[in-house]
């Protein structure tokens, strides 16, 4: 909402400057976001008097000497026909930039020096008049600032009016507030003094007819109040300067006197009004009704619109002529040839205007106000002002008025216990102060017993509860006046959410491991027709209308993004939500961690200029890292027998991952749309937990019975005695048939080596020379230790041969000789 400082002053003649008003409104009413000085571009223009003037032969030009107050006469060439010696004009010295951007410079025209410019209204941006320079009727001395003489200076306050305060969508609305804040009484703007009067209207509840026009309301729910006023004999033309200035001061464009007058009422009083060309209203009758399905109307903007029963229209005897509360029709538009006007001042149902404008997909200044709710009682008050203003600026006679509608119900009184004001605000506010502040902005306050009965004014639809009144009191007193007191706090009954606790641990582990956390968008395109993804019903674009069901899908896209920017070393992870469509159609949210690595395993260094690339074993490590961090001490298994989830979708799955017997995720090699130089990418995806979405309790109820969702405390680590005896170490180089896995061999070793086995390390794999086809050589290093004494060589040799015997017998694995 644009507010003109000067216009507001016309309503409340306060003495504050615009900056002070800005502070006051922001602190107490609504935030002033922008602040523009109007006329600032005329800052350096001055009043100058023409001292001498002579025609330049064979041209329209004159050569003049001008007194600009500087003490010497300035030579100026001027093309205007109306240069008069002795008269005063706006003057731009050379070096001045015109409102249009033109820089005035010293130059020579037809041999005459010109050192500045005498200005016409259009050159100053003060209207379309460019027939001659602007003669100033002023006593001001030459050299006086033009702004001081023309009284042009103004400031535009751009106010962020929130949806609960439609009453602030006008200067009058802010005038109420400013009066309350400054104590300066509100008045009718002086420019509206002596308006022509409107005759007493013909009245009716749902219909009424005057001498020339009739009004009928199909439903007073859709249109509670409609006032039609006939003005005959108007002359449509340019607005007077003061009206133009008002319209332009809020950033609108002056169109003609009739339209400008209606806009004055809109911005001045917050009441949208519409002027019809009466000659174009069939049967001179107004019917406010729902459109019939399929009816059409071409609106002012030239768009032919197909209407529906959701749309409320103003119709004449035959067809719709305007969209009620939204936009007028082209056919009944006021044009230069218009002589008779039907002025509409009405209220329409907010819901109906909203339904209609959403159906048609348009929004206007009028619909914006109607759908938020205008002052229920403003029609009878504003209608004569609007009619009078048109008659004043466009001439003509206000002939008759027809006023149809029902008196809006008053707001229900709200009970307010004054001590509750202090109790909620945490500051002592007396009952008297509460009453005084509420009264100052139009609330009616009646004491009844210990409580106040407070009735909101007709323009305040947002105040229905005692807390709403407390807000009014708090803001009018000023939030800054409240004390800063931290209330002694009791500890929160809510434990930390386990997903936060676990997620944070995993995040820190992965960052410490050298990965970057990412926070990409969770939307995705469907790459697989078979995938059951959750679709957004109204996505912004059709390229990514689905919610992802896998973090790795997102990370793969981000890796490709990096590859396209020549970044081949990608290590990233995300802890976020996967939206999984369950078989029964329900949606389940899983908090997952996804991690992707590709490229160099270590930074390049002169000792290792070409480090190896990440491979599957690094991904397996990542998986183990996450499991260890998320579920300390839990039994985890990475199995090459893939779960259904790991097999689904893309290929490349390497291991399924289960924790305490529950499948939690998988490790895979990721196929990317990658350039040839890119290293292979590997990924891990793991579900940390589910985010329940079921209702906690019925509406309006709570349910404290559910067990705490707190994260389970990890089992504390038990101290193991540190060995003081020496270890015995030997290596086992084995020939392992391809059908036997390393894990099987290791399991067998662990199963038969006895309790003194301390560690088993697979340290070598070899195929080739000397190794029979269909087998490979694997080498383990075994560490044995007795807790109390040194092991003898014989004991070690015994274990070694026993182990080899068992390996041969159970899985056909023998020692590698040679």
């Amino acid at each position: 909402m644009n507010i003109s400082h000067e216009w507001l002053k016309a309503f409340v003649p306060h003495a504050l400057d615009a900056a002070a008003v800005r502070e006051l409104l922001t602190a107490h009413v609504a935030t002033v976001e922008g602040f523009e000085a109007v006329g600032a571009e005329l800052e350096s223009f001055v009043v100058a008097r023409v001292v001498e003037s002579e025609k330049i032969p064979d041209t329209r030009l004159s050569f003049n000497k001008v007194d600009d107050g500087s003490g010497e006469l300035i030579e100026v060439v001027c093309g205007a026909p109306n240069v008069t010696v002795g008269a005063k004009y706006p003057f731009a010295r050379s070096g001045t930039t015109m409102p249009g951007g033109l820089l005035i410079e010293k130059r020579k025209i037809r041999g005459f020096v010109s050192n500045g410019m005498l200005c016409s209204p259009s050159e100053l941006g003060l209207g379309d008049d460019h027939d001659g320079i602007l003669e100033l009727t002023t006593d001001a001395a030459t050299g006086t600032r033009l702004l001081d003489v023309l009284d042009l200076s103004d400031a535009r306050l751009v106010v962020d009016v929130l949806p609960n305060r439609p009453d602030l969508l006008s200067h009058q609305g802010f005038a109420y507030e400013l009066t309350a804040l400054t104590g300066v009484a509100k008045q009718m703007p002086p420019e509206l003094a002596d308006l022509p009067a409107t005759p007493k209207p013909a009245e009716g509840e749902s219909e009424a007819a005057g001498r020339g026009v009739s009004v009928r309301l199909e439903s007073t729910a859709d249109c509670p109040h409609y006032c039609a006023i006939v003005i005959r004999g108007v002359t449509v033309g340019p607005s007077p300067d003061w009206l133009k200035r008002r319209i332009e001061s809020v950033g609108a464009r002056s169109i003609n006197n009739v339209v400008d007058a209606t806009n004055y009422i809109l911005h001045g009083f917050g009441q949208p009004v519409h002027a019809f060309d009466l000659a174009k209203i069939g049967g001179s009758s107004i019917v406010v009704r729902r459109a019939r399905s399929g009816e059409t109307l071409t609106t002012l903007d030239g768009t032919a619109r197909v209407l529906s029963n959701d749309v409320l229209v103003i119709a004449d005897a035959e067809r719709p002529t305007a969209l009620a509360g939204i936009m007028g029709g082209q056919a009944s538009e006021v044009t230069e040839g218009t002589t008779d006007i039907l002025l509409e001042v009405a209220t329409f149902s907010p819901k109906q205007v909203r339904a209609g404008r959403r159906h048609l997909g348009i929004a206007t200044d009028a619909s914006y106000r109607f759908e938020r709710g205008i002052n229920d009682k403003s029609v009878p008050r504003v209608a004569p002002i609007a009619a009078g203003l048109i008659a004043m600026v466009a001439g003509g006679t206000i002939e008759e008025a027809v006023n149809v509608g029902v008196e809006p119900p008053a707001h229900d009184p709200i009970s307010l216990r004054p001590e509750r004001v202090s109790r909620l605000l945490g500051d002592e506010v007396s009952a008297d102060e509460t009453a005084r502040l509420l009264t100052s902005i139009g609330f009616a306050v009646h004491k009844s017993g210990d409580a106040f009965q407070v009735t909101a004014p007709s323009w305040r639809h947002d105040v229905t509860l005692d807390v709403d009144l407390i807000e009014e009191v708090a803001r009018l007193r000023g939030y800054d006046r409240l004390p800063d007191v931290i209330t002694g706090s009791r500890p929160s009954s809510v434990p930390d959410h386990p997903m936060h606790v676990v997620g944070r641990r995993v995040r820190d582990a992965l960052v410490a491991h050298g990965l970057f956390e990412v926070r990409p968008l969770p939307f995705t395109a469907s790459t697989d027709a078979a995938a059951a993804l959750v679709r957004v019903r109204n996505p912004l674009g059709d390229d990514e209308p689905f919610l992802r069901d896998s973090i790795l899908t997102t990370l793969a896209g981000r890796a490709e993004y990096n590859l396209s920017r020549m970044q081949g070393d990608v290590r990233m992870f995300e802890i976020g939500t996967a939206f999984v469509a369950e078989a029964n159609g329900a949606l389940s949210e899983e908090i997952r961690v996804g991690a992707l690595v590709m490229g160099a395993r270590r930074p390049r260094h002169f000792t290792e200029p070409d480090p190896p690339a990440f491979d599957a074993w690094d991904a397996k490590e990542l998986a183990e890292l996450v499991v260890r961090t998320a579920w300390p001490g839990a039994r985890a298994e990475l199995s090459a027998e893939l779960s259904a989830e790991a097999r689904a979708g893309e290929t490349g799955a390497l291991w399924s991952l289960s924790v305490e017997g529950t499948v939690r995720g998988h490790v895979r090699e990721i196929t990317l749309d990658a350039p040839v130089w890119a290293a292979p990418a590997f990924g891990v995806e793991l579900t940390l937990g589910k985010m329940p979405a079921a209702a906690v309790a019925a509406r309006g109820a709570h349910d404290y019975s559910r067990a705490s969702d707190a994260a389970p405390r990890p089992q504390p680590v038990r101290y193991a005695r540190l060995a003081v005896t020496p270890a015995a170490v030997f290596d086992l180089a084995l020939i392992v048939p391809d059908a036997v896995s390393a894990a099987q061999v290791e399991q067998t070793i662990r199963g038969s080596a006895g309790e003194l086995l301390e560690a088993v390390l697979l340290f070598d794999e070899f195929r080739g020379d000397g190794i029979p086809a269909g087998t490979r050589s694997l080498a383990w290093r075994l560490t044995f230790r007795h807790p109390d004494r040194t092991l003898r060589d014989k004991e070690i040799d015994g274990r070694r041969s026993q182990l080899l015997k068992t390996l041969d017998k159970e899985i056909g694995v023998r020692a590698r000789t040679a």
Binding site: P163, A474, P491, V494, E589, A693, D703
Partner: protein, 347 residues
Amino acid sequence: MTDANLTLHDFTALLASFEAEAAPAMTGAASADALDAVRATYLGRAHGWLKDLSAKLGQLEKADRGAAGKAFNEVRLRVEAALEARRTELSPRREAGTLADPSMPARRSWVGAVHPVSQVLDEMIEIFRELGFTIALGPEVETPWYNFGALNFPPDHPAMDLHDTLYISDDAVLRTHTSPVQVRTLQAWAPPIRVLIPGNVHRRDPFDASHAPTFAQVEGLVVDEGITFADLKATLTHFAKRFFGATKTRFRPSYFPFTEPSAEMDVLCGVCDGSGCGVCKQSGWIEILGSGLVHPSVLESAGVDSEKYTGWAFGMGPGRTAMARHGIPDIRILYDSDVRFLSQFAR
């Protein structure tokens, strides 16, 4: 051990041939790896030649063993000296404590980073933790009731226009703010409640330089007996001082359906100190968060007695803070996941 079958002369010959072979092998090793292999062959403790020689000492006459041992040690020391000399030649290390060129870079590991938005979130959480707040989370797909109805949004009202909503179905929306978790928390836990609610929220906003359809929000909720607006103001002012180092805050009237009274908090612009600049759009203030006393209808939606309990709530966007803090000109950079961007935030 009396069966002497090796003479001192033989042993000395063996020692000489060992030295004649081992020393040049050491000196001739072309690399540190090759030197290691040579060392294992000649001096290895398990299978090295020298070990074999030391075993042979036992086969000498007792009387000869002293002289043989002395000779053995002299050879061993010479060969070891050759090894060390070659090792020094091969390594960039000239002598202990010096490097040939100490200016050469360290060997490094990859360094990861927490996303800048998460870093901001972490710091915010840290400050509220000191004030006794715990962390609550909730689902991102919500029912319209949790997202709007329970939070006192009037049905089909222009207030909804502030939240351009992404719908999954008539019964499911992507939450437009973290506030539904207020209701869930109030339904599940009895006061006193002091929680911080971080999470992603979604709006039907075009993805451009200043908007993203998904962004992080963090919300706070306090509900107990006797909670006041003064408490809200004091706590949030404390936060602003700690987090922004703000010298001054101000509270302005605002509107949120789920708080009443509602206020927005600004901090004095640190760039211009309040005199007005491009950063604060000439206002002298930077908008930080929206807040207010919890609307009684929100408490009642969650089955909490609004006469007995009062509370306050606030919400803010760590993404904007991260952008302002780091001078990030385009919000999309936060989502692109370019490793060159992310690595700037390694600590």
